[in-house]
């Protein structure tokens, strides 16, 4: 996704803020919606949110940095989340994570240099029976092995191809 233009940040944030009143309890839901739309929480968005809720911008930052789900920097085009829950761990989740790190040449928490892939760890997606689990762009892959990494990447690229093919011009 990369860096997002200021106008887009402004528009998307304004869009979300129209859905919520200025009550303090809306802070986390607003952060979630903005993060869903932009992929991360840019500084300008947080400032707008603070204004809307009439709270100090530091409080917005404080909440945004507390939760795992909120990113402060742009994500990769695809997000790969490797489950590090107990069941996945005892079935070799760490080896899976390391295999992804090697394959993508990026440390967990980072984004590849070309911006294609972001690699994250996630604490249990509740599919423990299918461990070890990898979630790629919201598709859950069960019973993965270090050797299935390449296949999942190919699969992602193909799906992307399909989507582009469908919409004609792509993006």
């Amino acid at each position: 996704m990369g860096q997002i233009m200021d106008e887009v940040i402004e528009d998307e944030t304004a869009f979300v803020l129209r859905l919520y009143s200025g009550e303090r309890k809306n802070l986390v839901p607003i952060l979630q919606d903005v993060c869903d739309r932009l992929g991360y929480l840019p500084r300008a968005a947080m400032e707008r949110i603070a204004e809307h809720l009439a709270i100090n911008r530091g409080e917005v930052y404080s909440a945004a940095t507390f939760y795992n789900q909120f990113r402060l920097s742009p994500p990769g085009r695809h997000t790969v989340k490797v489950c590090m829950g107990t069941a996945c761990h005892i079935k070799g989740g760490q080896l899976i994570l390391e295999a992804w790190e090697r394959e993508l040449d990026v440390d967990v928490g980072g984004v590849t240099r070309d911006g294609q892939f972001g690699l994250e760890r996630v604490a249990c997606v509740g599919c423990c029976a299918m461990a070890p689990i990898v979630v790629c762009d919201d598709v859950v892959h069960g019973r993965t092995r270090p050797t299935t990494v390449k296949g999942i990447i190919t699969n992602l690229n193909e799906r992307e191809h399909d989507i582009r093919g469908d919409s004609g011009q792509g993006d």
Binding site: R43, M46, N56, R57, G58, E59, V60, Y61, S62, T65, F66
Partner: protein
């Protein structure tokens, strides 16, 4: 308001109903260490875990959260109390820049005071130091902020939001928790109104007045 009578370390103490054991003890001249407690703040922050006492029938509790009751019997120095507060104290020091000589709080530091009152060592070696190396913020004309000396008692955050301009807040979490400004902006650019209350409440040398700055009249 009515009063209650409790016994702390064998001494009878009268306290206001609703008061916390910590303040009743301190008022009665009995020392209990604490870093994070603010009198009257509800709910109490209860984060530093130094103010442990043992109460008959209740066991080990933090005195800053425990409300006094008539006939309550409190001990501030049982082996269990000593052990817990020593552990908490040493844990705090394991994530703290303990080079006291270069600290602006040197000589006026609650950690030093607690160490000398309780006979604890400032240089502990039970726990391995947890690396901490934030940049020091000296952008502000009147104060410096050294996060490496911060013990996360939360007093500055509370006072800044209560009486100041609300620029200080906790950010991140767990071992990475830090008191900071919006996106870590230098204090000088943060919107701070220089009330200097934070420096006044900081129990250590993390937020300190720059040399030659006179403390505010409060």
């Amino acid at each position: 308001m009515s009063k209650v009578t409790l016994t702390i370390d064998g001494i009878q103490i009268e306290a206001q109903k609703g008061e916390k054991v910590l303040w009743a003890a301190l008022e009665g001249g009995i020392y209990i260490p604490s870093l994070c407690a603010v009198r009257g703040l509800e709910p109490p922050f209860a984060a530093c875990r130094l103010c442990f006492v043992e109460i008959e029938g209740r066991g080990i509790v933090t005195s800053c959260t425990e409300t006094v009751a008539d006939g309550m019997v409190v001990y501030t120095n049982t082996p269990r109390v000593k052990r817990l507060r020593r552990t908490a104290f040493e844990l705090l020091l394991s994530h703290h820049d303990t080079d006291c000589s270069s600290c602006p709080g040197h000589g006026n530091c609650e950690l030093q005071r607690i160490a000398s009152r309780l006979g604890l060592k400032l240089r502990q070696n039970r726990f391995r130091p947890v690396p901490i190396s934030y940049p020091i913020d000296s952008s502000h004309p009147l104060i410096t902020y050294d996060p490496n000396r911060c013990i996360l008692c939360g007093k500055c955050v509370w006072v800044c939001n209560e009486r100041g301009s609300g620029v200080l807040n906790f950010a991140f979490r767990g071992i990475d928790t830090v008191v900071t400004t919006f996106f870590g902006l230098p204090l000088a650019d943060s919107g701070c109104n220089s009330c200097l209350e934070c420096a006044a409440v900081c129990p250590v040398g993390a937020i300190a007045l720059k040399r030659d700055v006179r403390p505010p009249r409060s």
